[in-house]
């Protein structure tokens, strides 16, 4: 089999905030269609890593290559334009607007315009379809409800729909399941699995290890900004170092 260039390549990415190395020489590759899980204790630099890849924070050192192209230090909207969509951990929608109107913004973007050849049709209708895909029941008019009255679970789904609206090739989900009940997570898993079947590449940052291990091909573990383990979910779970990072080392 021929060796193809990695879809996303991150080489010794480093970011320092004051005296803290939030992300410390992290490198990894990602193949197209792969699902990479990123785990780590609180403050281990997971969200900073996402911010570095998506351009919201400029790295001190290291490079990010996307489809063979150097995207290090590009503006966030340029990176999004190339097809990297991210979901924020903190959802902050337009509370004063109906849910579907929230999706107009990504649908209005140059990327969507380009990919649809300018014929995007009725943006409202596309937005409602997208919301239905992530589980907003159209029959009970959920897509038409004000974002301010929607429960947290729906807002998280909307965050996913906002990413999908951009027609991305890589989706980075920053703790999509945080604050959701078991039932809500269970109902969201099929949506992610559907995205997987569409050959989308996904990076998932998650604290819900069981769900993450079920769907990801590979798991990377961060601790104090450093990558301490990487591999198939099973191996990572067994790793001594990971157990130590999560449970703390034994008293000496």
């Amino acid at each position: 089999m021929k060796e193809e260039a990695p879809f996303l390549k991150v080489t010794s990415l480093t970011k320092q905030f004051g005296g803290v190395r939030a992300v410390d020489t992290v490198s990894f590759d990602l193949k197209k269609g792969e699902i990479l899980g990123v785990i780590g204790p609180n403050g281990s630099g997971k969200t900073t890593l996402v911010n570095l890849i998506t351009g919201f924070v400029k790295p001190d050192a290291g490079k990010v290559f996307y489809q063979g192209r150097d995207i290090t230090g590009m503006m966030p909207h340029r990176i999004a334009d190339l097809g990297i969509a991210r979901a924020f951990q903190m959802v902050k929608p337009f509370y004063q607007l109906p849910a579907f109107k929230n999706l107009i913004i990504p649908l209005f973007s140059p990327r969507v315009k380009r990919l649809t050849g300018g014929k995007y049709g009725d943006r409202d209708a596309i937005a409602i379809d997208l919301l239905e895909e992530v589980g907003f029941e159209r029959d009970s008019f959920v897509p038409f409800k004000m974002a301010s009255v929607l429960p947290h679970g729906y807002l998280k789904r909307m965050e996913l729909a906002l990413c999908m609206a951009l027609r991305p090739e890589l989706i980075i989900l920053d703790e999509l399941f945080s604050g959701l009940s078991m039932a809500e997570v269970a109902s969201m898993l099929p949506i992610i699995e559907k995205l997987m079947s569409e050959n989308l590449t996904i990076i998932m940052i998650e604290h819900r290890l069981r769900e993450l291990f079920r769907i990801s091909n590979r798991v990377m573990v961060l601790n104090y900004g450093k990558k301490i383990a990487e591999g198939p979910p099973k191996e990572v779970m067994e790793s001594e170092e990971v157990k130590k990072a999560y449970l703390g080392s034994e008293a000496e």
Binding site: M75, H77, A80, K92, F94, I105, F108
Partner: protein, 334 residues
């Protein structure tokens, strides 16, 4: 037995954001009355008042334009404390074109409108990254800086200003030009902010990071909003220059920055009609109080305080609610 106020939406049942299903004259009137009646009243007033109050109405319209421009910037997340910048730049461009190049108002006003928009946008382009109070500080400083530059370098007439500029045909012409401009800008902005484009602008105000990750260049959109707002402000300045037939350092005065904001607060921010209404209350009020003498500013200030405390949402929001909803007291069973 306790009572509580119940609010029920009045009006048209089948109503969405932009499709109106009109079934009867009643419903058409329901939509038309709040738009047509104020316009008719406004033009009736212009026919009845004398030259002095016509002049007052012109400057009211100018402040209304600045307030509309302020409201558009705020809608896009840019708080401006320097509407005088737009006003002054437009005024000076007009003055220069008329004084040095002898262009007639027919050309100076359009050139100053577009040119003022471009100049102000370029001046503020480096600080578009700043948000909230940081952007506001820069807008506050720029007009103060420009006025000192003119004073120190003595360009464009220095402290004397440029006088003897061309006037417009008549006061009535000036009045109708300014009022039509206000109404045109009002309806344009109100329409614009409800389109998908306007939605993106409001998105930048609420959560600019979310707009960025949607692949939209927020600085490009902010620059466009800034251009529209500053062009409106520059038009106001250009018009005023020809009304006074003079342009000088006073065009950068704080009045032009503060009064539009006061109008927006009194009238109701974010509606465009509110800030315009605010200007049409505050400016004539300030004129009417001239008879009071020294205590004028005190009474004026008191009025502002009372309004902001009693009606923090703004007059327009209040009337809008009263118009769209029935209110009645209902008994609450415990």
């Amino acid at each position: 037995m306790e009572h509580r106020k119940e609010r029920i939406d009045r009006g048209i049942k089948a109503r969405t954001e932009d499709i109106y299903a009109l079934f009867s004259y009643r419903e058409m009137l329901y939509l038309l009355v709040p738009r047509v009646i104020p316009i008719l009243v406004l033009f009736l007033v212009t026919l009845l008042v004398g030259v002095y109050w016509q002049k007052v109405l012109i400057s009211t319209a100018v402040f209304a334009l600045l307030a509309l421009s302020w409201d558009l910037l705020t809608a896009a997340g840019m708080v401006s404390l320097g509407q005088a910048l737009f006003f002054g730049v437009g005024a000076y461009i007009t003055g220069i074109l008329n004084h040095y190049f002898n262009l007639s108002p027919l050309f100076t006003i359009p050139i100053a409108t577009v040119g003022g928009g471009v100049v102000c946008t370029l001046l503020l382009l480096p600080v578009l990254r700043l948000r909230g109070i940081y952007f506001a500080m820069v807008t506050l400083a720029l007009p103060l800086m420009l006025v000192r530059i003119i004073e120190a370098t003595k360009i464009f007439g220095g402290t004397e200003g440029l006088s003897g500029l061309a006037g417009l045909p008549s006061t009535r012409f000036e009045l109708y030009l300014s009022l039509i401009a206000v109404l045109a800008v009002l309806f344009f902005f109100r329409r614009l902010i409800n389109t998908d484009y306007g939605l993106v602008l409001r998105g930048i105000r609420d959560n600019d990071r979310s707009v960025m990750r949607s692949g939209i260049n927020i600085y490009w959109f902010k620059a466009q909003a800034l251009f529209m707002a500053s062009a409106v402000g520059a038009f106001a300045g250009a018009l005023m220059t020809h009304v006074y037939m003079f342009v000088g350092m006073p065009v950068f005065e704080m009045d032009y920055s503060i009064l539009p904001i006061a109008s927006a607060v009194v009238g109701g921010m974010g509606t465009f009609a509110g800030p315009m209404l605010g200007a049409f209350i505050l400016v004539p009020l300030s004129e009417a109080l001239r008879g009071v003498g020294g205590l004028r500013i005190v009474i004026y200030g008191l009025f502002l305080v009372i309004f902001t405390v009693a009606l923090p949402e703004g007059i327009f929001h209040y009337f809008q609610r009263k118009y769209h909803q029935f209110e009645r007291w209902v008994k609450v069973e415990k």
